[in-house]
């Protein structure tokens, strides 16, 4: 099996050009899926028999929560790759992920709380999922804070990469302990939908937004990746050509 494609991905000029070319291929489908999915979820899906129209928040909460975790995993994995193989591009990917992931974690917390008020009667519940999201936000902030503490990009890359990997390993441990803690004190999470199975009219918009948000993340990542790659290139003849474009 030829690994040339992997080696190509280590080359900043290649990645820079590739990212620029690929962005529209993710951005436009993302826009269509998100807008279509949200419309379907708001208008076409029938109301839930238990939560009425309030359940429609799932079409914004589920994708933001999903993204907050997906982005952290991508961040941790690319950070690990950057550490092991000393790839600048991998570190650039990790650095690009952090602000995206943090913003979606905030969105997940806000939408989760807004969903909580009509369902449980309070804006905040020490529900294991919300608490885990909050801790995830602090993991992102810690990563960003550590990065910000270094002037030298290379040291910032490597130190924050180690933190990201440690964080990734700890996420299951932390989540398990939060679930355990929560089970001691109250009934299991109420964040369910009325029916155990979702009909297609409810499920399809959900799948649309989940996919749409994921593609959106990739498009954002590609844009930020170009910026991060540029910042890590000091000299480089390829810059002259690339910037002319």
């Amino acid at each position: 099996m030829s690994w040339t494609w992997f080696h190509k991905l280590a080359s900043p000029p290649y990645v820079y050009a590739l990212a620029a070319r690929l962005t529209p291929w993710f951005a436009w489908p993302a826009a269509l899926l998100i807008l279509g999915g949200l419309y379907a979820g708001l208008v076409l899906a029938p109301p839930d028999y238990q939560q009425g129209e309030g359940f429609r928040i799932i079409y914004v909460h589920a994708p933001t929560a999903w993204l907050s975790i997906l982005v952290y995993v991508v961040m941790g994995v690319s950070a690990g790759i950057g550490l092991i193989w000393r790839m600048k591009v991998a570190h650039a990917v990790a650095a690009s992920c952090a602000p995206i992931g943090a913003s979606f974690t905030v969105a997940a917390l806000v939408t989760g709380s807004l969903w909580g008020k009509p369902m449980w009667g309070t804006f905040w519940e020490w529900d294991p999922r919300l608490v885990s999201e909050l801790i995830l936000l602090f993991l992102y902030l810690g990563y960003l804070g550590l990065r910000a503490g270094f002037d030298d990009t290379q040291r910032a890359d490597r130190a924050s990469a180690l933190l990201a990997v440690v964080g990734l390993v700890n996420v299951p441990i932390i989540h398990y302990s939060v679930v355990w803690w929560n089970s001691l004190h109250q009934a299991p999470s109420v964040m369910q939908l009325g029916k155990p199975k979702m009909p297609a009219s409810m499920l399809t918009p959900l799948l649309m937004v989940l996919l749409g948000f994921t593609l959106f993340f990739v498009a954002l990542l590609l844009v930020r990746l170009r910026a991060e790659v540029l910042q890590r290139e000091r000299s480089a003849s390829w810059l002259r050509e690339a910037l002319r474009a």
């Binding site: 801790i135 602090f138 993991l139 902030l141 810690g142 804070g145 550590l146 503490g149 270094f150 290379q154 040291r155 490597r158 130190a159 180690l162 933190l163 440690v166 964080g167 390993v169 700890n170 441990i173 932390i174 398990y176 302990s177 939060v178 355990w180 803690w181 001691l184």
Partner: protein, 251 residues
């Protein structure tokens, strides 16, 4: 000059310096090097005994805040005692982290350790052990006394001691990793807390639960076992990660 810092010390300190020498003829076996690293740190720490008391004093002070802020009723205090003790312990050990690497990073000892023929992981484990003996262990012994002031019955004290001992080991190790990551940063206090606390949450959850059960007179083995599992995980992985972090900062 880097090595001037080491040669200014005597006794176990100088011997430890030789033990980690890159010169294989002089190098001591790993266990000896670790033992010497521990005794070096303990000796140096005892020369500044007053600093050792600070985290303890902070712990007691924080525990004191709660009765003043909430209520002097012992019954009420007993119901929140487990949480108070653990939060105070967490914050006190955060404060104590400053002493772990600060001096060694400044005088070049850490660099010597990294360049040594010995495994940096092993040496950092030794340093963390010494640090725990100086901070975590005294904290654990202080906790039962603080618990008494919060209306806890004497029967619960062994349980509190045991859970604190096991928990503070993990806290020291997590703290060592976070300290290693922020090595050389000025005013890293808030960042250190931001990095350490989320990783310490499982310890807080299980430790507080074990303490709570002990106070209520119930069996506390289940959370204690989970606490011990975390400690084992931390002992195996944290020094390794901390060594990687130290190398990154010395690059």
């Amino acid at each position: 000059m880097r090595s001037a810092g080491l040669s200014a010390h005597s006794g176990p300190v100088a011997v430890a310096a030789v033990a980690v020498s890159p010169d294989t003829a002089l190098r001591a076996p790993a266990l000896t090097a670790a033992r010497l690293a521990v005794s070096r740190d303990l000796t140096l720490a005892f020369r500044r005994r007053s600093q050792l008391v600070q985290p303890l004093a902070f712990f007691v002070l924080v525990t004191l805040l709660f009765p003043l802020a909430i209520s002097p009723e012992l019954a009420r205090l007993r119901s929140i005692a487990a949480g108070v003790l653990w939060v105070a312990a967490l914050l006190a050990s955060l404060l104590a982290l400053e002493f772990l690497f600060r001096d060694d990073a400044q005088d070049g000892t850490l660099e010597q350790y990294a360049l040594a023929g010995q495994s940096l992981t092993w040496l950092l484990f030794a340093k963390t052990l010494a640090h725990w003996l100086l901070t975590g262990l005294p904290l654990s012994m202080m906790a039962p006394i603080a618990a008494l002031s919060l209306g806890v019955g004497a029967a619960a004290l062994p349980g509190i001691l045991v859970s604190m001992v096991v928990g503070t080991v993990t806290l020291s190790l997590i703290g060592a990793l976070a300290s290693a990551l922020t090595l050389g940063m000025k005013r890293s206090g808030a960042l250190l807390a931001l990095l350490t606390l989320p990783l310490s949450l499982p310890v807080l959850i299980y430790g507080a639960r074990a303490t709570e059960l002990a106070i209520a007179g119930n069996a506390y083995l289940a959370p204690l076992e989970l606490l011990a599992a975390l400690a084992v995980l931390a002992v195996t992985l944290a020094p390794l990660a901390a060594a990687a972090a130290v190398r990154i900062s010395l690059e």
